[in-house]
C-alpha cells in the first residue's frame, strides 16, 4: 500500500499538488523569470523612449563598454563598486567578526549590546542616508561639531562635498547601518561550534589569539562564505544610500557614482541628461547581473572548498 496516499486518486492528488504550488509558481514566473529574461532581450534592441526599435545585436554592449563617454562612466562607476566592496568586506565585516567574538564571550551586558548593534540594521536606508547627510553637514553636522569639540578642527572637513572624501563618508554610513548584520551571522556561526573543540584547544593551552586563528576562524568559514557573497551582491547593487546622500549624479563630480546610479540614470534619465535609454540601460543591467552571478558562483565554489580545507 502506498503509505503516503492510501485514499487519493492519482488525478485528484495531482490537482491538489498543482493547486498548492501554482500560485507561487505563477507569481514567480510573471514577476521574476519573465522580467529577467526580458532584460536580456531588451538589451539587444534600439529603444526610443518606451517604444522598441530595431534589433541591434550587441551594439548597446559595445557602446557602454567601449565607446566614450559611456565607457568612461562605466569604468568610473565600476571602480567605485570595487572600492566599496573591498572596503566593506575588510572593514565592516572584520569589525563584525570582532564584535561577534566579543558577544560570543557573553560578557556583562552582552544582550543589550546585541540588540543595539542590530538596531540600525532595521532602519530604512532612506532614514540612515538623510540622518548621516545631516550629521555630515560641514558646519552644523554632528560629526564636525564633535571633531571641533575635541580639538580636531583640522579634521572637520566638508566630507560629502569633497570628491576625495565623499565615497568614504558613504561607506562609513553604510558600515554604521549594516555592521550588525555580519556581527550576528558570525555570532550564530560561533555559537554552532561544538564546545568540545573549544575545550580541547583550551586544554592544549591555546591563548586568545591562537583560539581565534586556529579554532574560531576556520570553524565559522560557512558564515564567511555567506557574508562574502551577500556583501558582493549588496555592493554591486548599491543604490539607495548614494542616491539619498550624494544624488543621482554621484556628486561631487561623479566621485560617488556607482553602477546602480549609472544604470538608473541611463534607464530613466535625470535632470541633466534628460534622455532615457532602455537599450543601454538593459545592457548595463545584464552586465551587472553577469558580474554578480559569475563572481558569486565562483566564490561560493572556492570558499566552500576552503571551508573543507580549513
Amino acid at each position: 500500500m502506498d503509505r503516503q496516499f492510501p485514499s487519493l486518486h492519482r488525478l485528484r492528488r495531482t490537482a491538489w499538488i498543482a493547486f498548492l504550488v501554482a500560485p507561487a509558481l505563477i507569481i514567480m514566473v510573471t514577476f521574476v523569470v519573465v522580467p529577467i529574461i526580458s532584460a536580456l532581450a531588451f538589451s539587444l534592441y534600439d529603444w526610443r523612449g518606451l517604444a522598441r526599435g530595431a534589433f541591434v545585436g550587441l551594439e548597446n554592449f559595445r557602446q557602454v563598454l567601449f565607446q566614450e563617454p559611456f565607457a568612461g562612466w562605466t569604468r568610473n562607476a565600476f571602480k567605485h563598486n570595487v572600492i566599496v566592496f573591498v572596503t566593506i568586506m575588510v572593514v565592516q565585516n572584520a569589525t563584525g567578526f570582532l564584535l561577534a567574538y566579543a558577544l560570543f564571550k557573553e560578557p556583562f551586558g552582552y544582550k543589550f549590546h546585541r540588540v543595539s548593534v542590530f538596531l540600525p540594521v532595521v532602519l530604512s536606508t532612506v532614514i540612515v542616508g538623510f540622518l548621516w547627510k545631516l550629521f555630515l553637514h560641514p558646519l552644523f553636522g554632528l560629526v564636525n561639531q564633535v571633531l571641533v569639540g575635541v580639538g580636531l578642527e583640522s579634521l572637520a572637513l566638508p566630507w560629502l562635498g569633497d570628491s576625495r572624501t565623499a565615497l568614504w563618508a558613504l561607506i562609513f554610513a553604510n558600515a554604521w547601518h549594516f555592521v550588525g548584520f555580519p556581527t550576528l551571522i558570525y555570532l550564530a556561526g560561533m555559537q554552532r561550534i561544538s564546545q568540545d573543540h573549544i575545550d580541547a584547544a583550551r586544554l592544549e593551552g591555546a591563548g586568545e589569539w591562537n583560539m581565534i586563528r586556529y579554532v574560531i576562524w576556520p570553524l565559522v568559514a560557512p558564515s564567511t562564505t555567506i557574508i562574502f557573497v551577500l556583501t558582493f551582491i549588496g555592493s554591486f547593487n548599491w543604490f539607495e544610500l548614494p542616491f539619498i546622500m550624494a544624488g543621482l549624479d554621484g556628486s561631487p563630480f561623479g566621485s560617488t557614482d556607482v553602477l546602480g546610479l549609472y544604470f538608473y540614470r541611463t534607464a530613466f534619465g535625470n535632470q541633466s541628461a534628460g534622455v532615457q535609454d532602455f537599450g543601454k540601460g538593459s545592457a548595463l543591467a545584464v552586465l551587472i547581473f553577469l558580474v554578480i552571478v559569475t563572481v558569486a558562483a565562483l566564490w561560493t565554489i572556492y570558499l566552500r572548498k576552503r571551508e573543507v580545507e580549513l
Partner: protein
C-alpha cells in the same frame, strides 16, 4: 538562532588567566560600539524637539521634551499619515500573500513526493539571490501594460514575488520536520487533504511563519527603490519614498527634518525593541543554514 546558554563566560572558560586584560578590552569594544550605534539615534530624537537655532548652537544638549512643534509640522503640513497608511497597506498585503502562497507551495513540496519536486524546489530557491532591481525596465513596461503602474498593487505583487523564495525555503525546511504520524492519524480518521493541511499541519508552523514574515516585512517596509520607479502620485507613496518628498520641502528647517526622521523610524524601532529576538532570527535566517 537563539543565544547559547551553555557557553561559559570568557572569564570562567579561561580559568586562572594571567591577566584580565581580554574581558576588559572586549567590554570596551562593545560599549564603544553601542555608543556609536545609539548616540546618533539619540541625537536624532533630541534634535526633533529643538528648533534649528538650538540644533546649531547646542547640538548635544537635552531638549525640552514638551516642545512638539516639529512633530506638529510633520503631521499637519505633510502627508506623513498617508504615507504611513500606505506602508501598512503595502507591507501587510504583501506579507499576507507571501505567507498564504508561500506556505501552500512549501506544504506541497515538503509533504508530497512527485515528479519535478526537487527541480521546483531548486527553482524557487534560485530566486533567493536574484537582484530584481536589475529587471526594473521590463517590470516597468510590464506594469504599464497591465495598467497597474503608479498603484500600490504593483508594489504588493512585486514584493510578493520577492518574498516567496525565502518563505518557501524557510517553510519547507520546517514542514519537513513535522512528524508523518500526525498526518496518517488524521487520514485514517477520514480527514481531507485540505483539512489536514489547514487544521493540523499549518497551525504547527507558526514559529517558521513568524520568521518568514519578519524576514520579508522589514525589507518590504523599508524599500525605496521600487516605489521610486513605480509610484508618482503623492497619495500612494510609501513612507521611505514620502520621506524624500518632505525632506526636500523642509530643506533648512532642521528641527522638522529630524522630527520627520524620528517619526519615520519610530514604528519599526518600537516593534524591533519589543521583538528583538524574533527580528534578529528573522532577518539573519536566509543567511543561516
Amino acid at each position: 538562532m537563539t543565544t547559547a546558554t551553555t557557553l561559559p563566560t570568557g572569564a570562567e572558560a579561561r580559568g586562572a588567566a594571567p591577566i584580565k586584560l581580554q574581558p576588559f578590552l572586549l567590554q570596551v569594544l562593545l560599549i564603544a560600539n553601542s555608543v556609536l550605534m545609539l548616540y546618533p539615534i539619540l541625537v536624532m530624537v533630541f534634535s526633533a524637539f529643538k528648533d534649528t537655532g538650538q540644533i546649531y548652537d547646542s547640538p548635544f544638549s537635552v531638549p525640552d521634551f514638551t516642545n512638539l512643534v516639529n512633530f506638529g509640522k510633520i503631521i499637519t503640513q505633510t502627508n506623513f499619515v498617508t504615507y504611513l497608511v500606505n506602508s501598512f497597506i503595502v507591507t501587510g498585503s504583501a506579507i499576507l500573500l507571501i505567507l498564504t502562497f508561500g506556505s501552500m507551495a512549501a506544504y506541497g513540496l515538503a509533504r508530497y513526493q512527485f515528479r519535478g519536486n526537487t527541480i521546483l524546489f531548486l527553482f524557487f530557491l534560485s530566486g533567493l539571490m536574484v537582484p530584481l532591481k536589475l529587471a526594473i525596465i521590463p517590470l516597468f513596461i510590464q506594469f504599464k501594460n497591465l495598467g497597474i503602474l503608479d498603484t500600490r498593487l504593483s508594489l504588493i505583487l512585486l514584493y510578493t514575488a520577492m518574498g516567496l523564495p525565502s518563505t518557501i525555503f524557510i517553510m519547507t525546511g520546517f514542514i519537513r520536520t513535522l512528524p508523518q504520524e500526525l498526518e496518517d492519524a488524521a487520514r485514517i480518521d477520514g480527514a481531507s487533504e485540505l483539512r489536514i493541511m489547514t487544521s493540523i499541519m499549518l497551525p504547527l508552523t507558526r514559529p517558521a511563519m513568524i520568521i518568514a514574515a519578519i524576514h520579508n516585512a522589514v525589507p518590504t517596509w523599508n524599500d525605496f527603490f521600487f516605489p521610486l520607479v513605480f509610484i508618482q502620485t503623492d497619495a500612494r507613496k510609501t513612507l521611505p519614498q514620502g520621506l524624500t518628498t518632505f525632506m526636500g520641502e523642509f530643506n533648512t528647517d532642521w528641527g522638522a527634518l529630524f522630527a520627520g526622521l524620528t517619526l519615520s523610524a519610530l514604528p519599526i524601532v518600537v516593534v524591533y525593541i519589543v521583538l528583538s529576538r524574533q527580528f534578529i532570527a528573522g532577518m539573519t535566517s536566509g543567511a543561516l543554514k
